[in-house]
Amino acid sequence: MTDQPDCRLKAEVTSSEERPEAARPSANSWLAPGGRPRFEMRGIRKAFGATTALDGVDLAVAPGEICGLIGQNGAGKSTLMSVLAGALVPDAGAMSIDGQPYAPGSPIEGRRAGVAMIYQELSLAPHLTVMENILLGAEPTRYGMLDRPRMRELARRALADLGHDDIPPDAPVSTLSVAAQQLVEIARALAVGCRVLVLDEPTSSLGRRDVERLFALLRRLKAQGHAIVYISHFIEEVKEVADRFIVLRDGRNAGGGPTAGTSHDAIVALMVGSSVANLFPRSPRRPGDAILEVTALEPGSASFTLYRGEILGIAGLIGSGRTRLLRTLFGLAPVRAGRVRMAAFEGAATPHARWRQGMGMLSEDRKEEGLALALDIADNLTLTRLSSFGAAGLLSPSRQRAAASRWIERMDIKCAGASQSAGELSGGNQQKIAIARLLQHDVDVLVLDEPTRGIDVGSKAQIYRLIDALVADTPGRAPKAILMVSSYLPELLGLCDRIAVMSRGRLGAPLPADAISEHQLMVAATGGATGA
């Protein structure tokens, strides 16, 4: 974190900057490309319950253009692309492809209209061959039988169009490398006649050489007149391959412009925007004893010390290895190398042992791992410490429910009672139950992975207050220690005492939260400046 970012750039980029390659007659040159766009989205709105995911977003891409789509986690990129692909129907707004109105009701209609999505997780049938995958759903037949020679020919031609006739059409897809599988998926998109190609984080599992080959391919497709949307967290990649970029923030267009001549910093400034109002309480804190010491822990090559009475935050993009680090600490993933000391206990441990040592973890995946939705609130809340509700393996359900009722009251959980099943509650109330489990167990170290993901603002504020109270300097009570991961930077800056950044699988040194800006965190996380 060396360069002080220059936020003034924001204004320059958002306004239509007259550049030879970007000089367009439109009022918002960054919004609409010159000539007739291949596809256009205007005023797209989409809400899920109380949360607005998209609030009037515009996007247009011309034939023969690569447009980078950038934004923080949760900015609305995926939702926007799902709308384009037909997987989601927008609440308002209009779309067109080549001037024709386009309102897909399903992904199949989207595909028929020529919109192809290449997702981060590839969607190929691994047991089928390359040609079977490429022509899936569009197999040529003769007298009702598969015309294999023709399939082979079509597949070969599609791969040759990509400049990759080295991929054998008869090989099962599972025998190919990830990069080759991605090419097969692109070939499939082209074989069914796509006009708009959307790539969502296509490089996340590719090596540098494969990334370069992919970029060469994208330029080739661009020359063939395809309109390409390229979604990535990695700003350098967008700058390298895209002609233009659009930034989304909180479900709105935050800005955009030509990639040539726009600095990494300026793009980050658009992603981050101005910080939100102060939701974050801060009681007086006084760091106490070191309770968790991590030395050169692999994966992540993480080293840090966590003290009682402090919150240590870990910033980083999804997929950077943050969650893996927490899981390794908690015994849910193997320790590859390095040392962990939790209070008086040295070395790796199972989750069972960690709870006994006084460490509890909140999962980022509330539905799949955090809670058992079919079980009732009392069971969910007390599962880690059932031994406190009866001796010798016995259990008193009424005492269990009484304990749960106390937490329901203290944490203001909206429910019909302790015996209601957890799945019937709202996300925010479910999250409060998952957190209450740590408090009921009375752990010393709370490991929180995305503590406020997908919950309403009111619950967020309550959880912030709660987290702050746990580490507050209160007479007569030892404060807790909190290690937390969040994708929402204002949250980290507002709550944490120190923050470390994880980038491409490596954890940087923790820095005092009041000495870093959101901008610097984003630069570090997206692989700029310090390069982590």
Partner: protein, 313 residues
């Protein structure tokens, strides 16, 4: 209590009342005569006993296809022990221990090899059946007559029900309590409902699962004891396909193959429903194929109704 919550809480019992009512109307009041009810209780005892154990494994999100084979093996074990001159009590204990050992094998294979329980127990179903046949040298094993042959006999004197039925009831109460009033029971529900969460919460998953399979198989061993009592010989070819009746009883009783749901009471009612259909059909003079079709229909209908009920919320 609204009609809806009544259906929610007592849906299976309601189904039993309806099924019994239909046959009662067709056959007449003698269908509910004490003698006939007791006949049904004896008929359902073996499946019920094994189904109590199956309830545990299904709540834990697993399955045990080997219970039919375990029943056969334990009849052979009892007969052999009795022939060796072992006391009836020890022979009965031997059958349950033989079952428990089979369950230990199932549990260890499932947790250590990380193969899904369906496949592991499909394999051990054949292995245990083969072992039973080998142990019996592919013959029925005659055994000296002892009081073990009277477990499902019509009781003499004041006893209301045969001792085997009392055993089913007592063990059902114990397991119902185990599931509700012990840490182990709540861990079983947690694992079946969301195994990843159970792991996050420090539940000892391997140990709990092994105990679950041991318990399930021990109940199959108890079932084998009742089976022996009925046959009075050790028969390695008995109870082929019985595991499906046992699983059906749990499912009709509200258990979910996805795990996390099921009750011992529901399971017993599920087993009773199948028996009422069986006996009702035969007393009505309906052929065996009719009762199979009816039972099959009930299984599908029970699960479909349950699904509608839970997704309608």
């Amino acid at each position: 209590m609204t009609a809806r919550s009544l259906v929610d809480r007592a849906g299976t019992a309601l189904a039993l009342v309806i099924v019994a009512g239909v046959f009662g109307a067709l056959i007449g009041p003698q269908f509910f005569a004490p003698g006939n009810l007791e006949l049904m209780a004896r008929q359902t005892a073996i499946v019920s006993m094994a189904a109590i154990g199956m309830t545990i494994v299904i709540i834990a999100g697993g399955i045990d296809l080997s219970v039919g084979s375990i029943i056969a093996l334990s009849t052979v074990v009892i007969a052999l022990l009795l022939r060796m001159g072992v006391s009836p009590v020890m022979a009965a204990a031997g059958s349950v221990i033989a079952g428990a050992l089979c369950g230990l094998v199932n549990g260890v294979l499932i947790t250590q090899l990380r193969v899904v329980p369906f496949i592991v127990t499909l394999g051990t179903m054949l292995v245990i059946r083969g072992a039973a046949k080998g142990l019996a040298e592919e013959r029925r094993i005659e055994a000296p007559v002892t009081w073990l042959n009277d477990l499902l006999r019509v009781p003499r004197g004041g006893a209301l029900l045969p001792s085997g039925i009392w055993a089913v009831i007592a063990l059902a109460l114990i397991i119902a309590g185990l599931l509700r009033y012990t840490r182990f029971g709540r861990h079983v529900f947690a694992i079946g409902s969301n195994e990843r969460m159970a792991r996050l919460c420090g539940v000892a998953i391997t140990r709990t699962k092994i105990v679950v399979y041991v318990l399930t198989a021990a109940f199959a061993g108890f079932g084998g004891l009742l089976q022996f009592s009925k046959l009075s010989v050790g028969d390695p070819t008995v109870a082929v396909g019985l595991e499906l009746d046992v699983i059906a009883a749990v499912i009709i009783g509200g258990g979910s193959l996805a795990g996390g749901r099921g009750t011992v009471a529901g399971t017993l009612i599920g087993a009773a429903i199948m028996t009422v259909i069986q006996i009702g059909c035969s007393q009505q003079g309906l052929a065996n194929w009719v009762q199979q079709i009816v039972t099959g229909g009930i299984i599908v209908a029970a699960v479909a109704l349950d699904r509608m009920r839970t997704t309608a919320v």
